[in-house]
Amino acid sequence: MRATSNKRLPKVIYVTLTLLVSTSQVFAYPPDNAAVLYYRACQWYQAEPEMEQMLSDLSRGKIELNPKIKKLVRSNKHAIDFAVAASGVTHCDWGMDYSKGMSTLLPPLHTFKKLARLMIADAKIMVEKGDYTSAIDRCLSVEKFARHVSDRNMMNYLLGLAINGEADKYIQDILANMPEDLDMLNWLKNQLVQIDGNSFSFEICVDDANETAILFMTKLDNIKALLPVENWEVPSSLSKTAEKWIFAADKQFLVRNRGYWEGLIRNIKAALDMPYPKAYQELKRLCEKPEKDIIENPDATLTLMLLPAFDKSYGVGIRGENLPNAVRAAIEIYIVKAKTGHLPNALPSGLPKDLFSGEDFEYKKMKGGFVLRCRVKDLGKDMVHEYQFKVTK
């Protein structure tokens, strides 16, 4: 009797374990890596160039929703479904081999942006049907998508911000047109708080560019592969000088160039702690420095060739991160309006700041809504940004 039960026990354990393992595989959807689903979305995405242009025009407010766009959204349902499912997954690994440094291949960022526009077009169709909740939910999916796209790499960061901008611009539009709904506004506020937990970071991109360049500067073969210098964005007046230094490059040249690079990166990181206007000016000065130095200093050669446009991308970053701040501050004002029936006379305290000035946005009530204005000029665009928010009567 005991012997029989001893024989049965392993069988029961085996069958139970087999069932457990097989069922967990059957229901393992979505996968724990969002990138898999985004790549599948790209695989299913299909649009003629003419339609892509139409989506771009719709995003810029040049045209209204039309039957052709609606048809495009319908025909790309699978792509949208995959992207929405992916946005709900926490972890996202694009599978980029960063050990390849400067030769690392980037994912199809341009298709990601098109997918985001397609998702926003879908949200616009929902609004047309009067389904504001689903439309906002779709925008939130795009916001999550944007944070997934934004990786340690500078291009991912910039495209991520661009995608996020698509969503925030449309949330701004929905808020202006949807009927006042306090529950919805509170829900949106809480959703955004969760999403913002995974924020964009320019500093991480600087660290990544630093690691990549240092890795590149360890091998003499890499340096010789920089020739011809014309392939790099080096001013034509300096290309002969750069070529001369690279032809003569030896191991000491590498060491000295790494030293120059590290010094500049230290200064760039220090500049990022400064207020925007000073930081921008300092980054501009630092990014132009190798051009001036290379004429007499061969140590500046590799920095001149490898330094990303940190000044430009920093400006784009501040601009891209400032819109979400304005939208989040505006939601608080809409909440006050929904609670009291009136727009507040002054900006409530503790709202997201204007990143250009580091202070609160300048709040101004106007006919049919309000304006959140930056207090400092965007030096890259030479203008002061204003974000207008309409209020439904």
Binding site: G101, M102, S103, T104, L105, L106, P108, L109, H110, T111, K113, N153, M154, M155, L158, L159, A162, T212, L227, P228, E230, N231, W232, E233, L306, P308, A309, K312, S313, V316
Partner: protein, 148 residues
Amino acid sequence: MNKYKDEKWLDELISGYIDTSEPKFDAEKWRQKYSWEFQSLVDRRSQSSPEGQVGILSVVLKSRVVKVAAAVIIVAISFFIIHQQSSEKVDTNAVSKVTISPTDMLTVASLNIAYRKGGLEAVEAQFEKAHGTRKPRATSISLQELLN
């Protein structure tokens, strides 16, 4: 002094050393001595060119000086062509700058350069260009192709 005025003494002196008689042209002798040149003249006359250009050309081509000059010209032209080819080799670097592979266009380095040149629009354009130049995907695939 008078003696110098009278030029006859000089003539006599010269004719004592060299033959001062009137030269007479002996055609037969000349033909034998310069048989090749004679034959060329005869050949030229027999050629059909009314202007005689080809005949002149053949004479010219047979001239040693002209041959040397032609050789110099050929060497100069060859040198010029070789030089042109080598300068074209330098230019291939510039060509390679434009015709980098679609894969290389999507690297961190390449996209950083695109961004420096023209911002995000240039980056997106580079993605489009790289994906546009890649081999298009087949719209349909047979089971046999799939298994092979």
